[in-house]
Amino acid sequence: MNKFYLLLLTFIAFDLQAQNSISGKVIDPSGQAIPGANVYIQNTYEGTSSLVDGSFSFTTEETGPQILIVSFIGYVEQQQVIELPATESLIVTLEEQFSRMEGVTITAGAFEASDEKKGVLLRPLDIATTAGATADISGALNTLPGTTKVGETGRLFVRGGEGHETQTFIDGLWVQNAYNATVDNLPSRNRFSPFMFKGTLFSTGGYSAEYSQALSSTLVLNTIDYLTANQTDFSIMTVGGSIAHTAVGDKHAITGELGYINLQPYFSLIKQNDQWEKAPQSLNGSLVYRYKIKKTGLLKVYVSASHGSLDLFRKDSQTLTKKLPLKVENLYAYVNVSYRNLLSDKWSVFAGMSYNFSKDDLVADREKIAAQERGIHLKNTWTYDWNERLAIRMGYESFIKKSQFDVVSQEEFNTKIIDDVLTGAFTEADIYLSKKITARAGLRVDYSSLQGEVAPAPRLSVAYKTGEKSQVSFAYGQFAQQPQSDWLFEKSDLDFESSDHYILNYQWSSNDRTLRGELYQKEYNNLVKYEGDFINGISSLNNAGNGYARGFDLFWRDRKSIKNADYWFSYSFLDTKRQYLNYPKEAVPSFASAHNISLVYKHFVSSLKTQFGATVSYTSPRPFHNPNKKGFNDERTQSFTDLSINAAFLYRQNIIFYASATNLLGTENIYGYRYAKEPNSNGNFNSEAIQQGAPRFLFLGIFITLAKDKTKNQLDNL
């Protein structure tokens, strides 16, 4: 019997295995405790978390040599061989792991609006709700620093650059005609709705080597990746209406939209300064398609087409005495197809194509003009993610452009054609040197078959984190752009125009407040110069023109101080002169103004479920040339002021009422003066003020979304 009890005891002893204890402390290289770290033995469940003072202690049934693992987010996992039972307390030091998310982003010359990235200054919704813009992307961006308001065009003029010096890209692909068709001194709108985009990157200079053909700035728009719900959207507005439907499946999603705009009813109610025969009207349609390829790939297709026309009377440009018909009819189509995918842990690829077609038929000054522009943009970029600290991008692209300009007047028939293939290649590296320093260096080369010229363009930018909430960044770049078609029609072997940018930026931002200041210097070279004018003829086209633009911008945004309110203030100072085109001497160009101020204010009143907005803008006097006086561009207009308001009433979750008024006070703003091309009988040139189309622009709209309710079936069973 004794033997039996001995045997039983040994069996029991097997079950009562020894409990070994492990204890110690988890710290970082500077000796500070790391609480909440996961401390455990490999291949077991046994472990614990470190306490507030970094200490840990747990027991285990394992013996002999074991691997102890200590891990905590943001730090490199530590593995240590220990011998159990442990004889002494362990000190484990964790090294910080570098993560790009915590690095500093380069802000010089860039304004990003995004729903996804951290630390952005604007969200796409901000663009749609800015008073005075009536949901026009360019209108809203005009309230940001670095822009000069040139109201008669409705386009973006950035830091002393002309409107065509800012180019638009959608999903990385070029948009040749981003603005709807118009005539001189009649503002146009950006063709694309801000709701299409998840992110907008507006650069005021120094932009990435990925883009080219824009001497001043780029507007990079990224469309929404995933359409999430089956829904139908309607809009009924004082200017027209639209209907759109989205159908979403597991892998595919498609949206179709149809819209019609006609300003005739509005013009008959509200008196306009111009004499209209047929108010602007347009019919447009678009299609958006998404196809998700496995887990990481996405194919995006965007197709848009529109037909627009307008007909008004304008004084003839020769003498400014007779009113002649001015008609425009435009046909436009745009296709954008892009594909991107992750090929491996490190490689990702993008390939895309855009097709742009625009045909304008104009009747002006008793001349018939037909202008046609076609372009294809092909682009392929590869990104290699070496590690957390280095990413390299390289790409190749091709623009195939064909422009044709036909003039039929009483005397003659004239045709001009340009056929050009622009090719470009670029490479750029994003270097995350540390948590405090990020650099981006790139090189780009462009070649034009028409001009027969190669233009290299280096780019460099660096950002340095000066404090927890502040940073300094610097950007330098050389930029090249093909001369406008007007000049290439006459002389096809002109050189690329070029500009050099130097930008210094300081930014301080907390969660709800941002302060940003930027200093810049731009040097223009190889600008087109010629002698003569369009009536008597142009001669001596060359690239001897030059110019400069320098100044500083200030931006302050505050979403905290006033409850439920969000406001931003921007001020831009610009000092610029050019000696280009047929300027007799160096002068301030007529689109430039020294001071531009905007104050944008938005306030949500929850009891009324309404967001109210107001924008105040001021632009200092602009130069214009008066041929009746000596000198060139020596005269100045008065300053421009505008107070615009808007209100969005969220009647229900899916019904929004929207009302806005631009230039509420009806201030008479004059942008400049048109002068007759030939003197009248007294030897003077007649003039006409270039004004707003009407003292005010009023807008009302209802936006309704009907979504297929997924819970409906479930509730019916209750």
Binding site: F4, L7, L8, F11, F14, D15, P35, G36, N38, Y40, N43, T44, Y45, E46, G47, T48, S49, L51, V52, I73, D115, R123, L125, K198, T228, A229, N511, F604, K609, L650, R652, Q653, K710, T711, Q714, L715, L718
Partner: protein
């Protein structure tokens, strides 16, 4: 003597068997209790770390990853400020991704992803409401389609409806109908498996009380 040896051997095998299979369930039970009783961030971190350790040892199981994510989502309630909430929710997201890789057809994981997105939305509703709201509804709807008997799906959908009703000043009938349906399904009892998801009844009851007090008015 033979019988004694036999019984000793069977006792011994019993002990070893218990040491083998029960380990996973035992560890899960222990951490589930820790998660249920956690009242502060440190306690939640310990429970989450516990689930993470189990997950590292059981590459075929999605439940430990699921609960680690759920713990981090609950932790975000205790955090103040958008950045801190986002940090906890992003950690939850990494666990949800791992779990859905193992079990892509599991409705509880889809529902949890909707819950995590809903919490991201509530961290900064003014800015995220418009962009995240459709994603939340889509995920809840998908989970409901995958398993129409899941009480948590109705409870979470009700929570979302309550939020929007509050913001837009609409009635709460739809939300209350969903709460009642969820309570009905909770009442039907849980599955035999004691470690599969069974949370939410307490909170659903609280919502239900709000509904009945409103009806009385």
């Amino acid at each position: 003597m033979k019988t004694i040896y036999l019984s000793i051997i069977s006792l011994f095998t019993c002990f070893t068997l218990m040491a083998g299979n029960g380990a996973y369930e035992k560890a899960m039970q222990k951490n589930l209790e820790a998660m249920a009783h956690a009242q502060d961030k440190q306690a939640m971190l310990e429970a989450a770390n516990g689930f993470e350790r189990i997950a590292n040892n059981e590459p075929e199981e999605w439940l430990p990853l699921y609960y680690a994510a759920l713990t981090y989502i609950n932790m975000s309630f205790f955090e103040t400020g958008v950045e801190a909430k986002d940090a906890a929710l992003n950690k939850a997201s990494s666990f949800i991704d791992r779990a859905s890789f193992i079990a892509p057809e599991e409705s509880e994981i889809v529902l949890l992803e909707g819950y995590q997105t809903m919490m991201l939305l509530s961290a900064d509703p003014g800015n995220r409401g418009q962009s995240l709201s459709p994603k939340v509804m889509q995920l809840f709807g998908k989970a409901m389609q995958m398993n129409p008997e899941n009480p948590r799906a109705y409870y979470l959908m009700a929570q979302m409806e309550f939020g929007t009703a509050q913001f837009f000043g609409n009635g709460t009938e739809k939300a209350c109908a969903l709460v009642n349906k969820s309570l009905e399904l909770f009442g039907k009892g849980t599955s035999e498996n004691t470690i599969s998801p069974s949370w939410g009844e307490e909170n659903a009851n609280k919502l239900g009380q709000e509904c009945s007090s409103e009806q009385k008015q």
